[in-house]
């Protein structure tokens, strides 16, 4: 698939990963080269980028956004805290990591990962699902 449209959901991240995702769309890294677009409505999206360890308040939203994305869809956990919950594991407020709640197709570990790694993660996830 050559046009993965991305919806980004912050489920309690520290902003680190979020700004790196945005940075991946700026001229230096330019994810739009691969046809990626950052869209604002889950209805338009193919790829769900989740950052953050999934807080209790965001849990229902995560599920709802996931359901709103039309099939076929890909979920990518961006950052250490989305992939494994660390370092916020153990808190009562944290329900994550993401793969405990929705199926995840690729994990990008890093705190935060470099924009290049984010690009690689998105492309890898899309390739695994749409081949």
């Amino acid at each position: 698939m050559k046009s993965p449209w991305i919806f980004h959901l912050n489920t309690g991240s520290c902003n680190g990963c979020d700004i790196e995702i945005v940075a991946a769309f700026t001229p230096r890294y330019d994810l739009e080269r691969f046809g990626c677009l950052l869209v604002g409505s889950p209805r338009h999206a193919d790829v769900l980028l989740v950052t953050g360890p999934v807080t209790r308040q965001m849990l229902p939203r995560l599920i709802r956004v996931y359901e709103q994305i039309p099939e076929p869809k890909v979920v990518v956990a961006v950052g250490t805290c989305a992939s494994s919950g660390s370092p916020f594991l153990g808190s009562e407020m944290v329900e994550g990591p993401v793969d405990r709640i929705i199926p995840v197709d690729a994990y990008i570990v890093g705190c935060p990962p470099r924009p290049e790694a984010i690009a690689r993660g998105i492309i890898m996830a899309v390739m695994s699902k749409f081949r």
């Binding site: 980004h8 959901l9 912050n10 489920t11 309690g12 991240s13 520290c14 902003n15 680190g16 990963c17 979020d18 700004i19 790196e20 945005v22 940075a23 700026t26 001229p27 230096r28 950052l38 869209v39 604002g40 409505s41 889950p42 953050g52 360890p53 807080t55 209790r56 308040q57 965001m58 939203r61 956004v65 805290c81 370092p87 916020f88 153990g90 808190s91 009562e92 407020m93 944290v94 705190c111 935060p112 470099r114």
Partner: protein, 411 residues
């Protein structure tokens, strides 16, 4: 009774003529979740209702179960934009409790990273502002300039966002002379680019969108206890760096001035940030010129140092990019914490949003919200309930439930 019913009906009619728009928690204009319930009539905003707590991660309580060095990296992850402010604030409190005095060079380096972080944060916000008003090109240009700072961070500390610069009693990474040269060269470029960004922000269509908008006058700014650029944009001259100097700011006092603007509108707040970038560049130049020699951290390993920190408590203040950041730290004397309390700048600033928003248009919401630079990952912890203005405050079932939830959240 008849009278009462009729008032009920008019209230219902009011309800009917307005539209309630949820702004967030998942909204492309916000990179982080906050829920503003906004009532509009046509395009005009008549009421704002805020719900926070979407990214509440329980960091304070987590910190209370970890040792000091683990907590240091944990609180760095309160926020990815001003992580260094958080660690500095925390470390300062620890150093005060343990009477540890970092070397001069360490303090200067801390300040250096601090100011670089301010530049990065302000540029980030300027880009976001441009993005909110639909000026994608300016957003792209601004963020491209910001990449330079991130490169420097990566060179000096090894990571673009979470620098992990501070350690108890000093800093972890030294600045080589080659790096110092690079920082200097980059600063020159950033100064030039920021001037360009400034001129773009005075462009016609931009000006139309951000002038005389979201006005917060001096008295309101004082009353609502806003801090940082939001306060300085309303003419309030507060800056922790001048008022309670920390790190190396005492010696750098003469190298920068506090930027204030009188208008209190979105443009004023934006301009304050632009000029603060220039001030930060001045500070960085001064630091590079006067960087003392010496070691950057104590020789002992962190466990020894942690043991030296007795039971005690301290309050620490720093001027984060968004304003005053306050930490209350209480240690248990065994390398752990009894209590950690964080009061973040956005938390102080958020309350002013309602004042700014009411009476504006829907199109202004993202611009005004962005103008206080609300990054909420540190702030999300309370529920604010605003009832209709002009009526007595009623606690209905809904807000009661929310208050209960708030109590439960705090546990």
């Amino acid at each position: 009774m008849v009278v009462k019913r009729s008032t009920e009906r008019t209230e219902k009619e009011v309800e009917y003529t307005r539209l309630r728009i949820p702004f967030g928690p998942v909204h492309p204009a916000l990179k982080e979740p906050v829920l503003l319930r906004i009532s509009v009539r046509g395009e005009e905003i008549i009421d704002v209702d805020m719900t926070l707590g979407h990214v509440h991660r329980g960091i304070e309580s987590l910190a209370e179960g970890r040792n000091l060095i683990q907590t240091l990296y944990l609180i760095e992850r309160i926020c990815g934009i001003c992580s260094h402010s958080h660690t500095t604030c925390f470390i300062q409190a620890l150093e005060e409790i343990g009477s540890i005095i970092p070397s001069e060079r360490a303090l200067y380096l801390r300040t250096l990273i601090f100011e670089m972080e301010r530049i990065h944060s302000h540029l980030l916000l300027l880009g976001v502002m441009a993005y909110e008003i639909g000026f994608d090109t300016l957003f792209m240009f601004t963020w491209h300039v910001r990449e330079k700072i991130l490169d420097l961070f990566e060179k000096i500390t090894g990571n673009r966002i979470h620098h992990a610069m501070n350690t108890i009693g000093g800093v972890r990474w030294d600045l080589t002379s080659q790096m110092a040269g690079e920082v200097k060269a980059y600063m020159r470029e950033i100064e030039k680019s920021t001037k360009y960004i400034h001129s773009a922000f005075t462009d016609g269509t931009v000006e139309k969108r951000i002038c005389n908008l979201g006005v917060l006058d001096y008295n309101d700014a004082i009353k609502l206890c806003v801090v940082g650029p939001t306060a300085r944009g309303s003419g309030v001259n507060i800056d922790v760096r001048k008022d309670h100097p920390y790190a190396a700011y005492d010696e750098l006092k003469g190298d920068f001035s506090v930027i204030t603007r009188k208008d209190g509108d979105v443009y004023a707040r934006t301009e304050v940030r632009i000029f603060e970038v220039f001030e930060s560049i001045n500070i960085i130049k001064a630091i590079l010129d006067r960087l003392p020699n010496g070691s950057i951290r104590p020789e002992e390993n962190v466990f020894r140092i942690m043991k030296r920190i007795p039971e005690g408590e301290a309050v620490s203040l720093v001027e984060a990019p968004r304003g005053e950041l306050l930490y209350f730290v209480k240690t248990d004397g065994k390398g752990g914490l009894i209590r950690l309390k964080v009061r973040t700048p956005t938390f102080s600033n958020l309350l002013s949003l309602k004042r700014m928003l009411v009476g504006c248009e829907i199109a202004d919401i993202p611009v005004i919200v962005a103008s206080i630079d609300p990054c909420l990952s540190c702030t999300n912890r309370v529920t604010i309930i605003n009832q209709e203005k002009g009526k007595s405050k009623v606690i209905d079932m809904d807000s009661l439930r929310r208050m209960v939830r708030r109590k439960w959240m705090r546990r």
